[in-house]
Protein backbone atom coordinates (compact mmCIF):
# COMPACT_ATOMS: atom_id res chain seq x y z
CA UNK A 1 0.00 0.00 0.00
CA UNK A 2 1.28 3.45 -0.80
CA UNK A 3 1.89 5.87 2.01
CA UNK A 4 -0.96 7.98 0.76
CA UNK A 5 -3.47 5.17 0.87
CA UNK A 6 -2.30 4.26 4.37
CA UNK A 7 -2.77 7.85 5.51
CA UNK A 8 -6.27 7.92 4.11
CA UNK A 9 -7.07 4.61 5.82
CA UNK A 10 -5.79 6.04 9.12
CA UNK A 11 -8.00 9.12 8.75
CA UNK A 12 -10.98 6.97 7.82
CA UNK A 13 -10.42 4.76 10.87
CA UNK A 14 -10.30 7.77 13.18
CA UNK A 15 -13.52 9.14 11.71
CA UNK A 16 -15.22 5.75 11.98
CA UNK A 17 -14.61 5.87 15.73
CA UNK A 18 -15.93 9.45 15.84
CA UNK A 19 -19.11 8.39 14.04
CA UNK A 20 -19.54 5.29 16.21
CA UNK A 21 -19.04 7.29 19.39
CA UNK A 22 -21.55 9.95 18.35
CA UNK A 23 -23.92 7.13 17.46
CA UNK A 24 -24.02 6.03 21.11
CA UNK A 25 -25.20 9.48 22.17
CA UNK A 26 -27.46 10.30 19.23
CA UNK A 27 -28.41 6.95 17.71
CA UNK A 28 -28.83 4.97 20.91
CA UNK A 29 -29.84 7.56 23.50
CA UNK A 30 -31.51 9.98 21.09
CA UNK A 31 -29.57 13.07 22.20
CA UNK A 32 -28.81 14.95 18.99
CA UNK A 33 -25.45 16.64 19.37
CA UNK A 34 -23.89 19.21 17.09
CA UNK A 35 -20.80 19.47 19.24
CA UNK A 36 -19.03 16.18 18.82
CA UNK A 37 -15.95 17.80 17.28
CA UNK A 38 -15.45 19.53 20.64
CA UNK A 39 -14.89 16.17 22.33
CA UNK A 40 -12.65 15.11 19.45
CA UNK A 41 -10.70 18.33 20.07
CA UNK A 42 -10.53 17.91 23.83
CA UNK A 43 -9.03 14.46 23.32
CA UNK A 44 -6.52 15.78 20.80
CA UNK A 45 -5.53 18.73 23.01
CA UNK A 46 -5.37 16.63 26.18
CA UNK A 47 -3.03 14.30 24.38
CA UNK A 48 -0.97 17.13 22.90
CA UNK A 49 -0.64 18.87 26.26
CA UNK A 50 0.45 15.66 27.96
CA UNK A 51 3.02 15.03 25.25
CA UNK A 52 4.35 18.54 24.62
CA UNK A 53 4.03 20.20 28.03
CA UNK A 54 4.61 17.18 30.26
CA UNK A 55 6.70 14.93 28.02
CA UNK A 56 4.51 11.90 28.56
CA UNK A 57 4.72 8.90 26.20
CA UNK A 58 1.99 7.95 23.76
CA UNK A 59 0.19 5.41 25.91
CA UNK A 60 -0.13 7.78 28.83
CA UNK A 61 -1.42 10.54 26.55
CA UNK A 62 -3.90 8.18 24.97
CA UNK A 63 -5.37 6.89 28.22
CA UNK A 64 -5.35 10.39 29.72
CA UNK A 65 -7.19 11.76 26.67
CA UNK A 66 -9.93 9.15 27.02
CA UNK A 67 -10.36 9.79 30.75
CA UNK A 68 -10.15 13.60 30.58
CA UNK A 69 -12.56 13.81 27.65
CA UNK A 70 -14.94 11.41 29.35
CA UNK A 71 -14.97 13.52 32.50
CA UNK A 72 -15.31 16.82 30.62
CA UNK A 73 -18.02 15.30 28.42
CA UNK A 74 -19.94 14.19 31.48
CA UNK A 75 -19.71 17.68 32.98
CA UNK A 76 -20.65 19.39 29.71
CA UNK A 77 -23.55 16.96 29.42
CA UNK A 78 -25.04 18.17 32.70
CA UNK A 79 -26.61 21.40 31.39
CA UNK A 80 -28.23 19.38 28.62
CA UNK A 81 -30.36 17.64 31.22
CA UNK A 82 -32.21 20.86 31.76
CA UNK A 83 -33.01 21.69 28.14
CA UNK A 84 -35.63 20.33 25.80
CA UNK A 85 -34.73 18.33 22.72
CA UNK A 86 -34.46 21.14 20.19
CA UNK A 87 -32.47 23.28 22.58
CA UNK A 88 -30.01 20.47 23.14
CA UNK A 89 -28.90 20.96 19.54
CA UNK A 90 -28.21 24.62 20.28
CA UNK A 91 -26.55 23.86 23.61
CA UNK A 92 -24.13 21.36 22.08
CA UNK A 93 -23.38 23.83 19.28
CA UNK A 94 -22.59 26.42 21.91
CA UNK A 95 -20.29 24.00 23.71
CA UNK A 96 -18.40 23.47 20.45
CA UNK A 97 -17.86 27.22 19.96
CA UNK A 98 -16.75 27.73 23.54
CA UNK A 99 -14.30 24.82 23.47
CA UNK A 100 -12.73 26.00 20.20
CA UNK A 101 -12.49 29.54 21.59
CA UNK A 102 -10.63 28.19 24.64
CA UNK A 103 -8.16 26.37 22.39
CA UNK A 104 -7.70 29.56 20.42
CA UNK A 105 -7.31 32.13 23.17
CA UNK A 106 -5.70 30.29 26.06
CA UNK A 107 -1.91 30.40 25.79
CA UNK A 108 -1.51 27.10 27.59
CA UNK A 109 -3.20 25.47 24.59
CA UNK A 110 -0.93 27.24 22.13
CA UNK A 111 -3.45 29.79 20.91
CA UNK A 112 -4.18 30.08 17.21
CA UNK A 113 -0.77 28.58 16.46
CA UNK A 114 -1.82 25.33 18.12
CA UNK A 115 0.51 22.84 19.76
CA UNK A 116 3.22 21.43 17.57
CA UNK A 117 6.05 18.93 17.76
CA UNK A 118 4.06 16.16 19.37
CA UNK A 119 6.63 13.36 19.44
CA UNK A 120 5.93 10.34 17.28
CA UNK A 121 4.70 7.36 19.27
CA UNK A 122 7.18 4.62 19.99
CA UNK A 123 6.51 0.99 20.71
CA UNK A 124 9.10 -1.38 22.05
CA UNK A 125 11.83 1.09 21.16
CA UNK A 126 10.67 1.62 17.56
CA UNK A 127 9.51 5.12 16.73
CA UNK A 128 7.13 5.74 13.88
CA UNK A 129 4.90 8.39 12.45
CA UNK A 130 2.03 6.82 10.58
CA UNK A 131 2.71 3.83 8.40
CA UNK A 132 1.33 0.33 8.67
CA UNK A 133 1.84 -0.13 12.44
CA UNK A 134 -0.09 3.05 13.14
CA UNK A 135 -2.78 1.96 10.69
CA UNK A 136 -3.12 -1.27 12.64
CA UNK A 137 -3.25 0.63 15.92
CA UNK A 138 -6.01 2.91 14.65
CA UNK A 139 -8.08 0.02 13.37
CA UNK A 140 -7.59 -1.86 16.63
CA UNK A 141 -9.18 1.17 18.25
CA UNK A 142 -11.99 0.95 15.68
CA UNK A 143 -12.48 -2.65 16.74
CA UNK A 144 -12.53 -1.58 20.38
CA UNK A 145 -15.10 1.17 19.83
CA UNK A 146 -17.19 -1.20 17.74
CA UNK A 147 -17.05 -3.79 20.53
CA UNK A 148 -18.06 -1.24 23.16
CA UNK A 149 -20.96 -0.09 20.99
CA UNK A 150 -22.05 -3.64 20.34
CA UNK A 151 -21.87 -4.60 23.98
CA UNK A 152 -23.82 -1.54 25.09
CA UNK A 153 -26.56 -2.29 22.57
CA UNK A 154 -27.00 -5.72 24.15
CA UNK A 155 -26.84 -4.55 27.77
CA UNK A 156 -29.54 -3.18 30.07
CA UNK A 157 -27.96 0.24 29.61
CA UNK A 158 -28.55 -0.13 25.87
CA UNK A 159 -32.20 -0.98 26.48
CA UNK A 160 -32.47 2.05 28.76
CA UNK A 161 -30.91 4.27 26.06
CA UNK A 162 -33.58 3.04 23.65
CA UNK A 163 -36.24 3.73 26.23
CA UNK A 164 -35.25 7.35 26.90
CA UNK A 165 -34.90 7.98 23.17
CA UNK A 166 -38.40 6.70 22.50
CA UNK A 167 -40.35 8.07 25.47
CA UNK A 168 -38.94 9.57 28.65
CA UNK A 169 -42.23 9.27 30.56
CA UNK A 170 -42.64 5.61 29.68
CA UNK A 171 -39.00 5.09 30.60
CA UNK A 172 -39.58 6.68 34.01
CA UNK A 173 -42.59 4.42 34.50
CA UNK A 174 -40.32 1.36 34.29
CA UNK A 175 -37.66 2.81 36.58
CA UNK A 176 -35.35 4.40 34.01
CA UNK A 177 -34.30 7.89 35.09
CA UNK A 178 -33.54 9.81 31.91
CA UNK A 179 -30.91 12.04 33.57
CA UNK A 180 -28.70 9.15 34.63
CA UNK A 181 -28.68 7.62 31.17
CA UNK A 182 -28.12 10.90 29.34
CA UNK A 183 -25.05 11.43 31.48
CA UNK A 184 -23.86 7.90 30.77
CA UNK A 185 -24.33 8.51 27.05
CA UNK A 186 -22.50 11.83 27.11
CA UNK A 187 -19.65 10.37 29.15
CA UNK A 188 -19.12 7.26 27.03
CA UNK A 189 -19.55 9.08 23.75
CA UNK A 190 -17.10 11.81 24.75
CA UNK A 191 -14.52 9.38 26.14
CA UNK A 192 -14.45 7.39 22.91
CA UNK A 193 -14.19 10.57 20.83
CA UNK A 194 -11.31 11.58 23.11
CA UNK A 195 -9.43 8.44 22.10
CA UNK A 196 -9.96 9.37 18.47
CA UNK A 197 -8.56 12.82 19.20
CA UNK A 198 -5.45 11.35 20.74
CA UNK A 199 -4.85 9.09 17.74
CA UNK A 200 -5.32 12.09 15.48
CA UNK A 201 -2.92 14.31 17.41
CA UNK A 202 -0.19 11.70 17.44
CA UNK A 203 -0.64 10.99 13.77
CA UNK A 204 -0.50 14.60 12.59
CA UNK A 205 2.04 15.65 15.21
CA UNK A 206 0.28 18.95 15.89
CA UNK A 207 -3.15 20.27 16.81
CA UNK A 208 -4.89 23.48 15.72
CA UNK A 209 -8.20 24.88 16.93
CA UNK A 210 -9.66 25.04 13.43
CA UNK A 211 -9.70 21.27 13.08
CA UNK A 212 -12.38 20.94 15.73
CA UNK A 213 -14.84 23.61 14.66
CA UNK A 214 -18.61 23.32 14.47
CA UNK A 215 -18.69 22.28 10.78
CA UNK A 216 -16.66 19.21 11.68
CA UNK A 217 -19.42 18.31 14.14
CA UNK A 218 -21.89 18.52 11.28
CA UNK A 219 -19.62 16.33 9.17
CA UNK A 220 -19.53 13.65 11.88
CA UNK A 221 -23.30 13.82 12.37
CA UNK A 222 -23.72 13.53 8.58
CA UNK A 223 -21.73 10.32 8.60
CA UNK A 224 -23.97 8.84 11.28
CA UNK A 225 -27.21 9.95 9.64
CA UNK A 226 -26.04 9.04 6.13
CA UNK A 227 -25.04 5.52 7.11
CA UNK A 228 -27.96 4.79 9.41
CA UNK A 229 -28.30 6.14 12.93
CA UNK A 230 -28.64 3.66 15.77
CA UNK A 231 -27.15 0.71 13.88
CA UNK A 232 -23.53 -0.41 14.06
CA UNK A 233 -22.99 -0.86 10.33
CA UNK A 234 -24.45 2.55 9.45
CA UNK A 235 -21.96 4.92 11.09
CA UNK A 236 -19.06 2.73 9.96
CA UNK A 237 -20.13 2.73 6.31
CA UNK A 238 -21.17 6.39 6.51
CA UNK A 239 -17.77 7.43 7.85
CA UNK A 240 -15.87 5.32 5.33
CA UNK A 241 -17.78 6.73 2.36
CA UNK A 242 -17.93 10.34 3.45
CA UNK A 243 -14.33 10.48 4.69
CA UNK A 244 -12.71 8.52 1.87
CA UNK A 245 -14.62 10.02 -1.06
CA UNK A 246 -13.25 13.57 -0.69
CA UNK A 247 -9.71 12.17 -0.49
CA UNK A 248 -9.98 10.42 -3.82
CA UNK A 249 -12.31 12.84 -5.56
CA UNK A 250 -10.36 16.05 -5.52
CA UNK A 251 -13.22 18.23 -6.69
CA UNK A 252 -15.29 17.05 -3.76
CA UNK A 253 -12.63 18.12 -1.28
CA UNK A 254 -13.23 21.85 -1.73
CA UNK A 255 -16.97 21.54 -1.24
CA UNK A 256 -16.74 18.88 1.43
CA UNK A 257 -18.81 20.60 4.10
CA UNK A 258 -21.37 21.84 1.60
CA UNK A 259 -21.85 18.29 0.41
CA UNK A 260 -22.09 16.95 3.97
CA UNK A 261 -24.77 19.51 4.78
CA UNK A 262 -26.72 18.78 1.60
CA UNK A 263 -26.52 15.03 2.24
CA UNK A 264 -27.77 15.51 5.77
CA UNK A 265 -30.83 17.37 4.53
CA UNK A 266 -31.48 14.94 1.66
CA UNK A 267 -31.19 11.93 3.92
CA UNK A 268 -33.58 13.46 6.47
CA UNK A 269 -36.07 14.04 3.70
CA UNK A 270 -35.87 10.81 1.72
CA UNK A 271 -34.22 8.12 3.83
CA UNK A 272 -34.43 9.29 7.44
CA UNK A 273 -33.22 5.90 8.61
CA UNK A 274 -30.05 6.33 6.52
CA UNK A 275 -28.44 4.28 3.80
CA UNK A 276 -28.28 1.11 5.89
CA UNK A 277 -30.88 1.71 8.60
CA UNK A 278 -33.20 -1.16 9.45
CA UNK A 279 -36.04 0.05 7.22
CA UNK A 280 -33.92 1.61 4.49
CA UNK A 281 -34.35 0.62 0.88
CA UNK A 282 -30.76 -0.55 0.45
CA UNK A 283 -30.74 -2.66 3.61
CA UNK A 284 -33.99 -4.34 2.61
CA UNK A 285 -32.51 -5.17 -0.80
CA UNK A 286 -29.32 -6.52 0.76
CA UNK A 287 -31.31 -8.67 3.13
CA UNK A 288 -33.34 -10.04 0.24
CA UNK A 289 -30.21 -10.89 -1.75
CA UNK A 290 -28.60 -12.62 1.13
CA UNK A 291 -31.84 -14.18 2.28
CA UNK A 292 -31.59 -12.99 5.83
CA UNK A 293 -34.52 -13.09 8.16
CA UNK A 294 -36.57 -9.95 7.74
CA UNK A 295 -37.40 -7.41 10.38
CA UNK A 296 -40.06 -8.23 12.99
CA UNK A 297 -43.44 -8.62 11.29
CA UNK A 298 -45.87 -5.77 11.45
CA UNK A 299 -49.39 -6.72 12.33
CA UNK A 300 -51.22 -3.41 11.98
CA UNK A 301 -53.12 -4.79 8.97
CA UNK A 302 -54.81 -7.26 11.22
CA UNK A 303 -58.52 -6.68 11.71
CA UNK A 304 -59.68 -7.01 15.27
CA UNK A 305 -63.07 -8.68 15.60
Amino acid sequence: MSGYVISVAIFVGIWVTLALSLNILTGYAGQVSLGHAAFFGIGAYASAVMAVRYGQPFWVDFIAAIIITGVVGTILGLPSLRVRHDFLVLATMGINFVVVALFKYVDFFGGAMGLVNIPAPSFFGATFRGGTPYLILVWLYVLFVWAVSWYISKSWVGLAFNAIRLDEDAAAAVGIGAARFKIYAFGISAALAGGAGSLYAHFIGSVFPDTFVFVESIAILSMVVFGGMGTLRGPIVGAIILKAAPEFLRFVQDYRFTIYGALLVLMMLFQPMGLLGDDSWLWQQLKRWFGRKSAPPKVSEEVTP
Binding site: I152, N162, A173, G175, I176, K298, S300, T304
Partner: protein, 246 residues
Amino acid sequence: MRKLIVQHVSKQFGGLRALNDVSFETENEILGLIGPNGAGKTTLFNVISGFLKPTAGEVHYNGQSLHRYRPHRIVALGLARTFQIVKPFGDLTVLDNVLSGYGMPLYRRPKAFFRRYHTPVTERAADEILALTDLTEYRDALAESLPIGVQRRLEIARALATQPDFLLLDEPAAGLTAHEAESLAELIRTLHARGKSIIVIEHNMAFAMNLCQRILVLAQGELIAQGAPADIQSNEQVINVYLGKR
Protein backbone atom coordinates in the same frame (compact mmCIF):
# COMPACT_ATOMS: atom_id res chain seq x y z
CA MET B 1 -48.58 -2.58 55.07
CA ARG B 2 -48.39 -1.60 51.38
CA LYS B 3 -51.06 0.90 52.14
CA LEU B 4 -51.51 3.89 49.89
CA ILE B 5 -52.65 7.03 51.66
CA VAL B 6 -53.62 10.18 49.80
CA GLN B 7 -53.82 13.12 52.19
CA HIS B 8 -55.54 16.42 51.32
CA VAL B 9 -54.08 16.48 47.84
CA SER B 10 -54.80 19.49 45.67
CA LYS B 11 -53.43 20.28 42.25
CA GLN B 12 -53.73 23.65 40.60
CA PHE B 13 -53.09 24.26 36.87
CA GLY B 14 -53.01 28.03 36.59
CA GLY B 15 -56.58 29.04 37.37
CA LEU B 16 -57.89 25.50 37.19
CA ARG B 17 -58.18 23.40 40.31
CA ALA B 18 -57.85 19.88 38.91
CA LEU B 19 -57.79 18.26 42.35
CA ASN B 20 -59.33 19.76 45.45
CA ASP B 21 -58.42 18.37 48.85
CA VAL B 22 -58.64 14.71 47.89
CA SER B 23 -58.09 12.19 50.70
CA PHE B 24 -58.49 8.42 50.76
CA GLU B 25 -56.72 5.23 51.73
CA THR B 26 -56.48 1.93 49.93
CA GLU B 27 -54.92 -1.40 50.63
CA ASN B 28 -55.26 -4.84 49.14
CA GLU B 29 -58.33 -4.26 47.02
CA ILE B 30 -59.53 -3.52 43.52
CA LEU B 31 -60.46 0.11 43.87
CA GLY B 32 -62.38 1.81 41.10
CA LEU B 33 -61.87 5.49 40.29
CA ILE B 34 -64.69 6.92 38.23
CA GLY B 35 -65.87 10.34 37.22
CA PRO B 36 -66.70 12.36 34.13
CA ASN B 37 -64.09 13.53 31.66
CA GLY B 38 -61.83 16.17 33.14
CA ALA B 39 -62.72 15.16 36.70
CA GLY B 40 -59.04 14.88 37.63
CA LYS B 41 -58.60 11.10 37.61
CA THR B 42 -55.47 11.04 35.49
CA THR B 43 -54.10 14.01 37.40
CA LEU B 44 -54.53 12.02 40.62
CA PHE B 45 -52.53 9.14 39.09
CA ASN B 46 -49.87 11.58 37.96
CA VAL B 47 -49.56 12.91 41.48
CA ILE B 48 -49.39 9.46 43.07
CA SER B 49 -46.80 8.20 40.58
CA GLY B 50 -44.64 11.32 40.93
CA PHE B 51 -45.15 12.74 37.43
CA LEU B 52 -46.77 15.82 38.97
CA LYS B 53 -46.06 17.45 42.31
CA PRO B 54 -49.23 18.28 44.24
CA THR B 55 -49.88 21.93 45.01
CA ALA B 56 -50.86 20.86 48.52
CA GLY B 57 -51.14 17.61 50.42
CA GLU B 58 -49.07 14.45 50.43
CA VAL B 59 -49.08 10.86 49.29
CA HIS B 60 -47.78 8.10 51.55
CA TYR B 61 -47.00 4.59 50.46
CA ASN B 62 -45.83 1.75 52.62
CA GLY B 63 -45.45 4.13 55.54
CA GLN B 64 -43.28 6.66 53.74
CA SER B 65 -43.97 9.99 52.11
CA LEU B 66 -43.54 10.05 48.33
CA HIS B 67 -42.98 13.77 48.45
CA ARG B 68 -39.34 13.72 47.37
CA TYR B 69 -39.53 10.78 45.01
CA ARG B 70 -39.32 11.14 41.26
CA PRO B 71 -41.34 8.78 39.02
CA HIS B 72 -38.56 6.29 38.29
CA ARG B 73 -37.92 5.93 42.02
CA ILE B 74 -41.58 5.43 42.85
CA VAL B 75 -41.75 2.38 40.56
CA ALA B 76 -38.82 1.00 42.48
CA LEU B 77 -40.96 1.16 45.64
CA GLY B 78 -43.41 -1.21 43.99
CA LEU B 79 -45.97 1.25 42.68
CA ALA B 80 -46.37 0.89 38.91
CA ARG B 81 -48.72 2.67 36.52
CA THR B 82 -50.04 2.60 32.98
CA PHE B 83 -50.90 5.60 30.82
CA GLN B 84 -54.33 6.49 29.50
CA ILE B 85 -52.71 7.56 26.24
CA VAL B 86 -50.59 4.47 25.78
CA LYS B 87 -46.85 4.98 25.62
CA PRO B 88 -45.32 1.79 24.26
CA PHE B 89 -41.71 1.89 23.08
CA GLY B 90 -42.85 1.78 19.47
CA ASP B 91 -39.55 0.81 17.84
CA LEU B 92 -39.07 -2.11 20.19
CA THR B 93 -40.65 -5.53 20.06
CA VAL B 94 -43.35 -6.54 22.51
CA LEU B 95 -40.79 -8.77 24.22
CA ASP B 96 -38.30 -5.90 24.62
CA ASN B 97 -41.05 -3.63 25.95
CA VAL B 98 -41.76 -6.18 28.66
CA LEU B 99 -38.05 -6.69 29.33
CA SER B 100 -37.69 -2.95 29.86
CA GLY B 101 -39.95 -3.34 32.87
CA TYR B 102 -38.23 -6.48 34.05
CA GLY B 103 -34.91 -4.63 34.22
CA MET B 104 -36.26 -2.14 36.77
CA PRO B 105 -34.09 -3.29 39.71
CA LEU B 106 -30.93 -3.07 37.57
CA TYR B 107 -31.02 0.39 36.04
CA ARG B 108 -29.50 2.14 39.00
CA ARG B 109 -26.68 -0.35 39.39
CA PRO B 110 -23.35 -0.72 37.55
CA LYS B 111 -24.42 -4.26 36.66
CA ALA B 112 -26.65 -2.70 34.01
CA PHE B 113 -23.53 -2.12 31.92
CA PHE B 114 -22.30 -5.66 32.08
CA ARG B 115 -25.43 -7.78 31.94
CA ARG B 116 -27.15 -8.58 28.67
CA TYR B 117 -30.89 -8.14 28.66
CA HIS B 118 -31.64 -11.08 26.38
CA THR B 119 -30.83 -14.22 28.32
CA PRO B 120 -32.78 -17.43 28.78
CA VAL B 121 -33.64 -16.30 32.31
CA THR B 122 -34.93 -12.84 31.38
CA GLU B 123 -36.81 -14.17 28.37
CA ARG B 124 -38.48 -16.86 30.42
CA ALA B 125 -39.64 -14.27 32.95
CA ALA B 126 -40.93 -12.03 30.16
CA ASP B 127 -42.64 -14.94 28.44
CA GLU B 128 -44.56 -15.68 31.62
CA ILE B 129 -45.89 -12.16 31.67
CA LEU B 130 -46.71 -12.34 27.97
CA ALA B 131 -48.67 -15.53 28.60
CA LEU B 132 -50.49 -13.99 31.55
CA THR B 133 -51.49 -10.93 29.52
CA ASP B 134 -52.31 -13.00 26.45
CA LEU B 135 -49.62 -11.37 24.32
CA THR B 136 -47.59 -14.43 23.40
CA GLU B 137 -48.62 -14.35 19.75
CA TYR B 138 -47.30 -10.77 19.42
CA ARG B 139 -43.99 -11.46 21.15
CA ASP B 140 -41.73 -10.47 18.27
CA ALA B 141 -43.90 -7.79 16.68
CA LEU B 142 -42.97 -4.12 16.94
CA ALA B 143 -45.12 -2.40 19.55
CA GLU B 144 -46.09 0.46 17.24
CA SER B 145 -47.63 -1.97 14.77
CA LEU B 146 -50.18 -3.36 17.23
CA PRO B 147 -53.89 -2.51 17.39
CA ILE B 148 -54.80 -0.23 20.27
CA GLY B 149 -56.42 -2.96 22.34
CA VAL B 150 -53.24 -5.00 22.24
CA GLN B 151 -51.14 -1.93 23.04
CA ARG B 152 -53.26 -1.44 26.16
CA ARG B 153 -52.49 -4.97 27.27
CA LEU B 154 -48.81 -4.37 26.54
CA GLU B 155 -48.99 -1.28 28.74
CA ILE B 156 -50.18 -3.49 31.59
CA ALA B 157 -47.64 -6.21 30.81
CA ARG B 158 -44.76 -3.74 30.93
CA ALA B 159 -45.97 -2.35 34.26
CA LEU B 160 -46.37 -5.89 35.61
CA ALA B 161 -42.83 -6.73 34.58
CA THR B 162 -41.56 -4.28 37.19
CA GLN B 163 -43.08 -6.68 39.73
CA PRO B 164 -45.18 -4.09 41.53
CA ASP B 165 -47.25 -4.60 44.64
CA PHE B 166 -49.52 -1.79 43.60
CA LEU B 167 -50.88 -1.17 40.12
CA LEU B 168 -52.47 2.04 38.84
CA LEU B 169 -54.38 1.35 35.61
CA ASP B 170 -55.57 4.41 33.68
CA GLU B 171 -58.62 3.44 31.60
CA PRO B 172 -57.29 0.03 30.57
CA ALA B 173 -60.65 -0.93 29.07
CA ALA B 174 -61.03 2.13 26.82
CA GLY B 175 -61.53 1.11 23.21
CA LEU B 176 -61.78 -2.58 23.97
CA THR B 177 -64.53 -4.81 22.63
CA ALA B 178 -66.92 -6.30 25.20
CA HIS B 179 -65.11 -9.60 24.89
CA GLU B 180 -61.67 -8.02 25.35
CA ALA B 181 -62.96 -6.03 28.31
CA GLU B 182 -64.19 -9.19 29.99
CA SER B 183 -60.82 -10.91 29.67
CA LEU B 184 -59.18 -7.74 30.98
CA ALA B 185 -61.45 -7.87 34.04
CA GLU B 186 -60.47 -11.50 34.47
CA LEU B 187 -56.79 -10.56 34.32
CA ILE B 188 -57.26 -7.83 36.94
CA ARG B 189 -59.03 -10.29 39.25
CA THR B 190 -56.20 -12.77 38.78
CA LEU B 191 -53.63 -10.13 39.66
CA HIS B 192 -55.59 -9.21 42.76
CA ALA B 193 -55.82 -12.87 43.74
CA ARG B 194 -52.02 -12.98 43.48
CA GLY B 195 -51.75 -10.27 46.09
CA LYS B 196 -51.60 -7.07 44.08
CA SER B 197 -53.51 -3.96 45.07
CA ILE B 198 -55.07 -2.21 42.13
CA ILE B 199 -56.64 1.14 41.36
CA VAL B 200 -58.42 1.20 38.05
CA ILE B 201 -59.78 4.28 36.33
CA GLU B 202 -62.83 3.41 34.33
CA HIS B 203 -65.33 5.29 32.25
CA ASN B 204 -67.82 2.52 31.87
CA MET B 205 -69.95 2.42 35.02
CA ALA B 206 -71.15 -1.16 34.53
CA PHE B 207 -67.60 -2.42 34.01
CA ALA B 208 -66.38 -0.72 37.20
CA MET B 209 -69.38 -1.86 39.25
CA ASN B 210 -68.78 -5.42 38.21
CA LEU B 211 -65.02 -5.45 38.78
CA CYS B 212 -64.30 -3.27 41.79
CA GLN B 213 -64.75 -3.94 45.47
CA ARG B 214 -64.89 -0.26 46.30
CA ILE B 215 -65.35 2.83 44.21
CA LEU B 216 -64.26 6.45 44.46
CA VAL B 217 -66.10 9.10 42.49
CA LEU B 218 -64.30 12.26 41.41
CA ALA B 219 -66.09 15.24 39.93
CA GLN B 220 -64.42 18.55 39.14
CA GLY B 221 -61.46 17.63 41.29
CA GLU B 222 -63.47 16.68 44.34
CA LEU B 223 -64.05 13.27 45.83
CA ILE B 224 -67.83 13.32 46.00
CA ALA B 225 -68.46 9.74 47.06
CA GLN B 226 -66.80 6.52 48.02
CA GLY B 227 -68.14 3.13 48.92
CA ALA B 228 -69.33 -0.24 47.70
CA PRO B 229 -70.56 -0.38 44.09
CA ALA B 230 -74.18 -0.79 45.16
CA ASP B 231 -74.06 2.33 47.35
CA ILE B 232 -72.39 4.35 44.62
CA GLN B 233 -75.01 3.29 42.12
CA SER B 234 -77.81 4.64 44.27
CA ASN B 235 -75.98 7.78 45.40
CA GLU B 236 -77.97 10.93 44.47
CA GLN B 237 -74.92 13.09 43.89
CA VAL B 238 -73.27 10.51 41.66
CA ILE B 239 -76.38 10.09 39.60
CA ASN B 240 -76.59 13.85 39.15
CA VAL B 241 -72.99 14.09 38.04
CA TYR B 242 -73.42 11.35 35.50
CA LEU B 243 -76.61 12.91 34.17
CA GLY B 244 -74.72 16.20 33.89
CA LYS B 245 -76.88 18.19 36.30
CA ARG B 246 -73.93 19.43 38.31
